[in-house]
Amino acid sequence: MVHGIVPPYLLARIAELDDERFAVAAQAARRALRYDEPRRAARLNFSLDASNNLVVELTDGPNRTISDAQNGETLPGEVVRREGDEPTGDPAADEAYDGLGATFALFSEVYGRNSIDGAGLPLDATVHYGVEYDNAFWDGERMVFGDGDGEIFGRFTASLTVIGHELAHGVTQYTAGLEYQGQSGALNESVSDVFGSLVEQHSLAQSASEASWVIGASLFTDEVEGTALRSLKAPGTAYDDDVLGKDPQPAHLDDYVETDDDNGGVHINSGIPNRAFYLVATALGGNAWERAGQVWYDTINLDLAPDTTFAQFAAATVRAATSRYGGASAEVDAVRTGWSTVGVETGDDDGLRV
């Protein structure tokens, strides 16, 4: 049984259409029905063209399954909502479902990527993991969200940027494969923050100048002095609290933090490439997911080495911008300036395995 928005009987009808006007839809339906291909969800779009003909298009759709760990630590937990199901009434499960949909939409509609692996991989998430669990993570197969302790953190599904961040870890796993340690780990984190922020901007239809550029707004309880967990616009300014201390993120390579904690400070030093992306996006203006986001998306799809450094990643973004927009383009200028402003020079070594 194919779980999807389009029921199989309707796919079969469309597949048999012998009409020029529906040739694309018919071919897509035949492809979706072929059992030797991976099962995938699909979406049907109906519209009228200029001559009042019905136009049917079949596009990629998400295949979401949300489970509830019921405050245990056994994964995946009990399934509470599958693709196409009505809302459960549980905010955590419904936020996870909607957030995965918004993330799928960005990658699918803007970059033409069908899910995490580009081949319709089902999107699985577990909510209510652990007791007062202060975290959300990607375990290589699914997104896992805790409820928070209620004193410092509320539930982790409350911010769309968190859901986008976790799913982007999956995309990085299937593309750049950046090792989660040191500079490559900070780049892995930064890619998740960048696309986590872009998911929210795309969902709210905000331009680069309208966007908040923060990660994890509304995660903190009212007790905490802080707006969010991280700021791409101004790393180091997201919070300043008696109990938590001050946001430790650097905004420039000169302030890179050498530490053994947190796999070499991956959540701290990500501030440097985060700000580079913000600078590129605001220099180009308009919607950040269009040109700046496209360059970053193209970059993670290059054959990057697992231990890519900041400088190599920066050089790879120049290569990506050059191949898409040309060497004398505003995009390449913005990319070079963005990186040099945060102290990362874009040399020739992009470390690509070509």
Binding site: D134, F137, Q173, E179, Y180, L229, D261, N263, H267
Partner: protein, 99 residues
Amino acid sequence: MTDSESDTWSISVVRTGGFAGLKREWHVGSADAPEVDWRLLVDACPWSSVARQQPAADRFVWRIEAHGGNRDRRATLGDANLVGAWRDLVDRVKTAAKD
């Protein structure tokens, strides 16, 4: 050395990483919670055979140190490895440090 001296313990738990990247620390001395058998909890942990774990995205990293019984012990664990005796020790330290 008397038994009471050799059963003086100082244990610290440092949690880093996680989505938030916030560092949390808990410390406990045996005098803070004399009713707990810290030696039993510490000795139950496999300090010398901690499995090397691949870093995982946004998961916590735990650094655990125990000083006492004439020895210093130190281990770094990924969140998925914080089970069994390790989990028991960390939970007791967190509880004792809260009081």
